[in-house]
């Protein structure tokens, strides 16, 4: 059971702290019983160090606030990073700060070692969301063992930020068609000839065909000229449809397919019951599709 004062100020004694307190008590006992003033000097130093380390630890946390919270792309069920900018508005520097979302020691890998007075520092925190959708970030916890590692001191900082978590993306290694087939779905594909899609077959050389498309190995064996045929995927225009009541699994798959198709250079659009995103390509377009999918069903 924690003492009330500890509960209020959110201070947790570390093992070093217990050892230090024990040594101080022992020295005090020896000093009182021996009347040796030199021991009293050591005891006075120990107590002064203890009191001031508490005060410094408090001061280390004072005057800190969250300036802004940013993030890049966070997907459900995948570790992501949130960038938090912490401002030190006091006239003293702050040392050795860890950042977390709970009053609990979670990550000891990426501390802020030093924030000079009247300045700010950024830190990236690892996050993991299980579900897609909008998340509200109301507070961030700072914790520090500074100065001597006797205690962990926690401080709650207000942070008003909403984080949009995109649906989980499944890794599609092969073609989208194969993936859909495996998932009992289908995709209607055009037979228009292209150069970058999947291999379609061979046909006889016709006048006007570029020489680089001639299949020379076949020509060596059989003597006739053949041309390699491919699907025209690069310029495919695909519109994905998804209902508002779609299951999470379906949303995940739609997002994965959209990402994969966009990666392959297809023009992907999205149609829901409410919105329609015309087929396009590019990162911003991808983010728009993912945003729509992330908010699907949230009204």
């Amino acid at each position: 059971m924690k003492l009330p004062v500890f509960r209020k100020s959110r201070v947790k004694l570390k093992r070093w702290g217990y050892v230090y307190a024990g040594i101080t008590l022992l020295t005090g006992f020896a000093a009182v019983n021996s009347g040796n003033n030199l021991l009293y000097i050591i005891l006075a130093f120990l107590l002064a160090l203890m009191a001031l380390s508490g005060f410094v630890s408090f001061l280390n946390m004072a005057g800190l606030s969250i300036l802004y919270v940013t993030y890049d792309e966070i997907y459900a069920k995948t570790p992501g990073y949130i960038k938090i900018s912490i401002k030190n508005s006091k006239s003293f520097p702050s040392f050795l700060l860890f950042v977390g979302f709970k009053p609990k020691i979670t990550d000891l890998h990426s501390p802020i070692l030093y924030i000079p007075p009247k300045s700010e520092k950024n830190v990236s925190i690892k996050v993991y969301y299980t579900n897609r959708g909008p998340w509200e970030l109301n507070s961030v916890y700072l914790y520090s063992p500074f100065p001597f590692g006797f205690t962990w001191r926690f401080k709650k900082l207000k942070a008003k930020a909403s984080i949009l978590v995109f649906p989980h993306i499944i890794h599609i290694s092969g073609s989208v068609e194969e993936f859909l087939r495996a998932e009992n779905g289908f995709i209607s594909s055009s037979t228009r000839e292209g150069t970058s899609g999947d291999f379609l077959g061979l046909r006889e050389y016709q006048r006007g065909d570029p020489a680089y498309r001639i299949y020379w190995k076949k020509h060596k064996k059989e003597g006739d000229l053949y041309i390699k045929q491919f699907f025209d995927e690069g310029n495919k225009k695909i519109i994905l449809y998804i209902s508002e009541n779609a299951s999470e699994k379906l949303i995940e798959r739609t997002a994965s397919i959209a990402c994969r198709l966009l990666e392959q250079g297809s023009l992907v659009g999205l149609k829901t019951d409410r919105d329609f995103i015309p087929p396009s390509t590019g990162r911003l377009h991808k983010l728009e599709i993912l945003k729509t999918l992330a908010l699907l069903g949230y009204g």
């Binding site: 070093w16 050892v19 040594i23 020295t27 005090g28 020896a30 000093a31 009182v32 019983n33 021996s34 009347g35 040796n36 003033n37 030199l38 021991l39 009293y40 000097i41 050591i42 005891l43 006075a44 130093f45 107590l47 002064a48 160090l49 009191a51 001031l52 410094v56 520097p93 040392f95 050795l96 000891l108 890998h109 501390p111 070692l113 030093y114 063992p145 500074f146 100065p147 001597f148 590692g149």
Partner: protein, 622 residues
Amino acid sequence: MVEKKLKLTLYLTLSISLISLSHALFPFGIFLALPVISGIYLDIKNKSLLNAKWTTFLAITGFLAFAVFAIRSPFEAIGYLLIYLISLRVLGEKNLREYKQIFALSFFALVASSIFHYSIIFLLYVALYILSGSFTLLIFSFLGDIRGYTLDYSVFRKLLKFVLYFDFSVIILSIPLFIILPRSPYVFFRAPSYIHREIEGFGNEITIGEISQNFNMDKVIMRVKPLQHTFPNVLYIRGNVLDDFDGKMWKRTHSMPYKWQKLEKIQFVKHRKTSGKYEIQLTPMETKVLYMVDFPHTVLPGKLHVFKDWGRVISLPPGKISRITVYRSFNTDVYTEELDNKKMFLSIPHGLESVVDSILFVTGILEKSDIRVIRAKIENYLKNNFRYTINVSSSKDPVKDFLKKKGGYCEHFATLTALMLRRLGIPSRLVVGFRTMEWNPYGKYYVVKVKHAHAWVEYFSQGQWFRLDPTPQQVGLNYIARLAEYWDYLIYLWNTQILQFNYLAQIKIFLAFKLQLQKFREFKIPYSMYPVMVFLILLAATLIKFFPRFRIHPATRYLNKFEKFMKKRGYEFKIGETPLEFSQRFCNPLIQEFIDIYYQARFGGVNIQELKKLYLKIKKTF
């Protein structure tokens, strides 16, 4: 892999505590600390001598060996055991945990050294330990809590700066803490003294002409503070009284009590010239005996009373550290007594009668002369015919040698005087003790050193013993070097205010504080003063508000105008931007020149008119 920076700071901390302990356990402590030095060297080279099994085995065997030693001297054994354990840890394989153990052991070594220490140097050791130790703790905190982190040099420097400020605050805060920490009137564990370096005092036998040169002549034995306004230039402190002289050696044959006795049949005589109270402060742990100023009749504290035929000092309880060494010697009055064994103080060694008679004949002293005349004649004779020197070789007949060579030191002068007085039928004896003229003006006390050891004569007349010092005084009041005086005063304060600080002193401080608080509470401001106070507060507030305006520099005034002007033109100073930075932002030579001239006018003393001209030029141009 533990960082080199941590090792260096940790070993610095360890060295401080080891030096402190080795200093206390000199000389054996030094030998035991030698493996630690080699261990540190090996560790810096990332090598270790002992594996975990060997370390445990040696620790257990060492512990048992020291446990046997502890039966005889437990505290010393603890000190040696600590040094031994530290050397094992330093020589063994180490990780962050073991380094933390070394740090804890270094702290225990510092605590152990406090048992044997008493000198002011200990304070220096503690202060250095706090400085180095807190820095080590800080690095432990950084390296222990961040996984896979190496301490950057820039952070290291910032931490060092922080520690300096922090430790200064620790030292300041520890002063009131030292005063208010609870102290008990009952002491249960008193550490015995095993370091036999006490000054034994004067013996019961003294051979004339044999001076021991084996001790430090400048070693301070005690400091004597007069508690009254008037005090003599030369202070005499009694050590022992010797009555029998066999031609070469003075012996003490009369009563040799070892306890203080309460005297009931003493008749005290007011003797204002020699009266006084003195506070005697012995060097802690080193002086084993109590010395008294002149003819004391009361000694504080406790159950000590004056003892008849005073002249023997009391030994302090053997084997105990004499931390409390301040006592007071009162000799407001001189007591009269009857001499029981007069013959004892009149005996002269066979063969010396004729020698003394011839001197008495030369000096013209008659047996029936007044004592004051006798004194004066003896003093004059010795002063005019003999010189003071300590370069005297040992001889079989020191008195005859002294007369032949016309030179000697205090024992020779006193012996001859005592013999002359005895031949005249005046009971006399030799007193050995200290004669000091060394006065510390800052602490207002006499310093008594080994070199102040002295011998003089006491003669009995009209029921009292009187002092007669025939040895010529070398110098008057001796003013020692100022720095040495300051240092000695510091030691005096350390001994009296720190080492002997106890619950009584605490009560005194608390009562004084209470009194001050009471005075403060009783202090009431009269109602008539209220309007004046309100006026003063308002005046102060007004001055604080408008003061900067009155003191504004003319150059700054033009800069402010320039700033306003630029703002109107759409070029605003950024927050925290200096004029120089502002000018660098613009590549306009006119603005740059203006700012340059501004700096010179503001700090370099260039005429303000130039700045004004430039300002007007800028106004026209833009």
